[in-house]
């Protein structure tokens, strides 16, 4: 290996990596409070879901017309956010965007946390979760739900592998470096590192595996969100019956996912003191990425709303009037303006791509992304082709009940719980990749 640094410098650099990146795995400032908060959220979730199981889905605000509510919106959001794993570790990685390397693991963790809980969000929405196995016993391959379950399962598996493979050298590294490791963690690392000793042969196999997964995850990730969009686009309802839903959802997913990664990067930068790894430069790049995908998404929004609004077909007109000037106007314009247009304009300027600013903007974008899914799911259901008549007043509108709020918050708690656990147990940055980039692989492996 070529090496421009002296042996001493190289060694101290690796030591610094080890210190900076491995340290947060053992210093848990504020963790107890955070875990307690999560536990509290989980208890609320269990309580709310228990009531839902006992009394039926009627405890939600969903009824025969608005038969999908925040659960499904939230499911779409979760799938959307998880797509970022593919964008960052696969697309940008394969495009040789080397600046992305420190961020890949964070992106994978976000993807894993959200996609694993997405499955549960769907189960929360089921009227008969006790019959979940029917999907596997009687699975009907003509149904987009079956495709969705297939691709999500596949995506979870690929994401796990894509999280795990690049972790192997770091596990071996951490095992050697970290003192006072709990026994369970040592054993875990020992088993998972698969006897990694860093031979060139091992590196070759590892690179091959990662490359294969990075290629494979692209179509699968596109599939999960495209199929999720088909849950809507496959119906004949005004507002959903459109052909651009696939790319529209995928573009939206990149926005939500990139925003989530930016927020997490900022938290880690502060909480894990990783200023030297998630630098201003990285935030600037992520800001550029976010503004790029947001512009693409804006373009799709233009198509999605302007084209039908130009024609104003009868059924579409009712739907569009509700969004533009009716009951959902405040939400619709709020999301479009504060969740997309203003963030895009701001992010075009370098000063707003500084870490704190960008993280702040990303919060707006992420909230906007969540609400956007509500706008996609609910207003359409309020305007079926035939009028809603001879039913109680509650059937004519939808506003989530506290049960739905807690169950939905619970899903976030679980996703954040998974993310927290992964980021506490494992190194948050792929150290060996940084070493490799600097040509320090030898030093990385040679510690005794």
């Amino acid at each position: 290996m070529s090496n421009s640094l002296s042996k001493e410098e190289a060694k101290s650099k690796i030591d610094k990596y080890a210190a900076d990146i491995l340290r947060p795995m053992q210093s848990h400032g504020g963790l107890e409070l955070w875990v307690m908060l999560l536990a509290l959220g989980l208890i609320m979730y269990v309580f709310a879901y228990f009531i839902q199981l006992r009394d039926g889905l009627g405890v939600t605000a969903m009824r025969d017309y608005v038969s999908w509510g925040v659960y499904i919106s939230n499911f779409v959001f979760f799938v959307a956010v998880s797509l970022v794993g593919m964008l960052i570790s696969a697309v940008l990685g394969l495009l040789k965007q080397d600046w992305i390397k420190p961020i890949t693991r964070v992106a994978e963790v976000v993807a894993l946390g959200f996609v694993m809980v997405a499955g549960l969000v769907i189960v929360n929405d089921m009227g008969r979760p006790d019959r979940l196995m029917n999907v596997f016993i009687h699975g009907r391959i003509q149904s987009p739900i079956v495709w969705d379950i297939t691709v999500i399962t596949t995506y979870v598996t690929i994401s796990l592998l894509l999280f795990y493979l690049p972790l192997i050298p770091d596990l071996a590294f951490a095992k050697k470096r970290l003192k006072n490791m709990p026994v369970w963690q040592y054993h875990l690392f020992n088993i998972l590192s698969l006897g990694w000793i860093g031979t060139p042969e091992q590196y070759k196999i590892l690179h091959k595996g990662i490359r294969l997964l990075a290629i494979l995850i692209i179509p699968v990730a596109l599939a999960i969100h495209t199929v999720t969009s088909w849950l809507f686009a496959a119906t004949l309802r005004p507002g959903w019956d459109t052909t651009i839903f696939g790319p529209y959802f995928v573009a939206g997913a990149f926005v939500a996912g990139a925003a989530a990664v930016v927020i997490l990067m900022y938290i880690l930068r502060v909480n894990y003191k990783l200023k030297d790894y998630f630098t201003d430069f990285h935030f600037d790049k992520m800001g550029q990425l976010l503004v790029l995908v947001s512009l693409v998404y804006l373009y799709f929004n233009l198509n999605e709303f302007l084209v039908p609004a130009y024609k104003m077909k009868d059924a579409d007109a009712v739907h569009l009037h509700t969004l533009f000037s009716g009951k959902y106007a405040v939400l619709f314009w709020g999301v479009q303006i504060f969740g997309m247009i203003i963030p895009i304009i701001m992010m075009l300027f370098r000063r707003f791509r500084k870490p704190a600013w960008l993280a702040g903007i990303a919060v707006f974008v992420l909230i906007g992304a969540w609400l956007k899914r509500v706008i996609i799911v609910i207003p359409t259901l309020l305007h079926p082709h035939l009028p809603i008549q001879n039913v109680p007043e509650a059937f004519h509108q939808y506003f989530p009940t506290w049960i739905e709020v807690f169950v939905t918050l619970g899903s976030f708690v679980m996703a954040l719980g998974i993310i927290t656990a992964l980021l506490k147990i494992f190194p948050v940055i792929p150290i060996w990749e940084l070493a490799e980039e600097e040509g320090l692989t030898e030093e990385f492996e040679s510690y005794e």
């Binding site: 009687h138 391959i141 297939t150 598996t157 698969l194 091992q202 196999i205 091959k208 294969l212 997964l213």
Partner: protein, 307 residues
């Protein structure tokens, strides 16, 4: 049987639902004098009575029931039996006509449905039940050499496959016990269908002097894959002639019965999914999971390479 029981159910429901109208039921339906005094411009001859009867059957019988049998629907207010003497004496032709035209509460307005002439023909038919103003009714029994023709009547049905027609031959019993052809007997022709009897041959008619009547079988009527149907004829006036009918199997149009479930499609059950979908789905599944399997074998290789 089915009809009466369903009528009963309908009726009971109707009573519940329409009880709110009961206040109207108390008040009598008065037709203003001028309208009441209108006279019927249509002659009450056989043709008009026959037409009136047919119109009554399609438009009125559902609620008012068979005249004289008091089997109308128990709506509130209750539809009168049209052969009820009190009704007939209380309502002049003009009044009946006006009620039919305007309607009230449960009685619909037939203004747009029936022409004025048609309405008057129905009035004629209704009036034919009025004992006081009995219009000469059609002769139903034929006298023959001083004998009377009466029950039991017999009906035989001949099927002519060449011209696809049915001929019904009606005979009555003479006083001496012999059979003789009965003319002017109303015969209906039907084809058996799953829920009811489909009238064919212009809804039948009356027998000629030889006691015969012919009916064409609609050859475009589907009769399953064999093109067969069960046709039958029956004497319409059960009260006079008794319940007399005869049946025969006839040839109609053979049609292909398409079983929707034989089709591979997106909407049908899982096992009948289209081949392209099965191949695509499982093809991709095997491709992706095969690759993942390969990646897992790489992990084993990785472990080996470390020893």
């Amino acid at each position: 049987m089915e009809n009466t029981s369903s009528r009963l159910v309908v009726g009971l429901l109707a009573v519940l639902l329409l009880s709110s109208f009961s206040v109207f039921a108390q008040s009598e339906w008065k037709v203003e004098d001028a309208k009441s005094k209108m006279s019927n411009p249509i002659q009450a001859d056989d043709a008009s009575l026959k037409e009136g009867k047919a119109l009554f059957k399609t438009n009125c019988i559902t609620c008012h029931g068979d005249p004289g049998k008091n089997n109308g629907l128990p709506l509130v207010p209750k539809p009168s039996d049209m052969a009820n003497a009190a009704f007939l004496s209380a309502n002049s032709d003009g009044a009946v006509f006006t009620k039919m035209t305007d309607g009230r509460i449960t009685m619909p307005s037939f203004k747009a449905v029936l022409s004025e002439k048609e309405r008057w023909k129905i009035v004629n038919y209704i009036r034919s039940f009025d004992e006081n103003k009995k219009v000469a009714s059609t002769v139903t029994a034929v006298k023959k050499e001083g004998q009377t023709l009466g029950v039991p009547y017999q009906l035989s049905l001949n099927y002519n496959p060449e011209e696809s027609s049915l001929v019904a031959f009606v005979r009555g019993t003479l006083t001496d016990g012999n059979l003789a052809p009965a003319s002017d007997v109303e015969v209906g022709f039907f084809v058996k269908r799953y829920f009811g009897d489909l009238p064919i041959g212009d809804r039948g008619g009356v027998t000629d002097e030889n006691g015969m009547i012919k009916a064409a079988i609609p050859t475009d009527l589907p009769g399953g894959e064999e093109g067969k149907a069960l046709a039958f004829a029956k004497l319409n006036d059960v009260d006079t002639y008794g319940d007399v009918s005869a049946k025969t199997e006839v040839s109609v149009k053979a049609v292909e019965i398409i079983n929707l479930m034989d089709e591979r499609s997106l909407w049908t059950v899982s096992v009948m999914a289209p081949w392209w979908l099965i191949f695509t789905y499982f093809g991709i599944l095997i491709g992706v999971w095969g690759t993942l399997g390969y990646v897992v074998t790489l992990l084993f290789k990785l472990k080996k390479a470390g020893v």
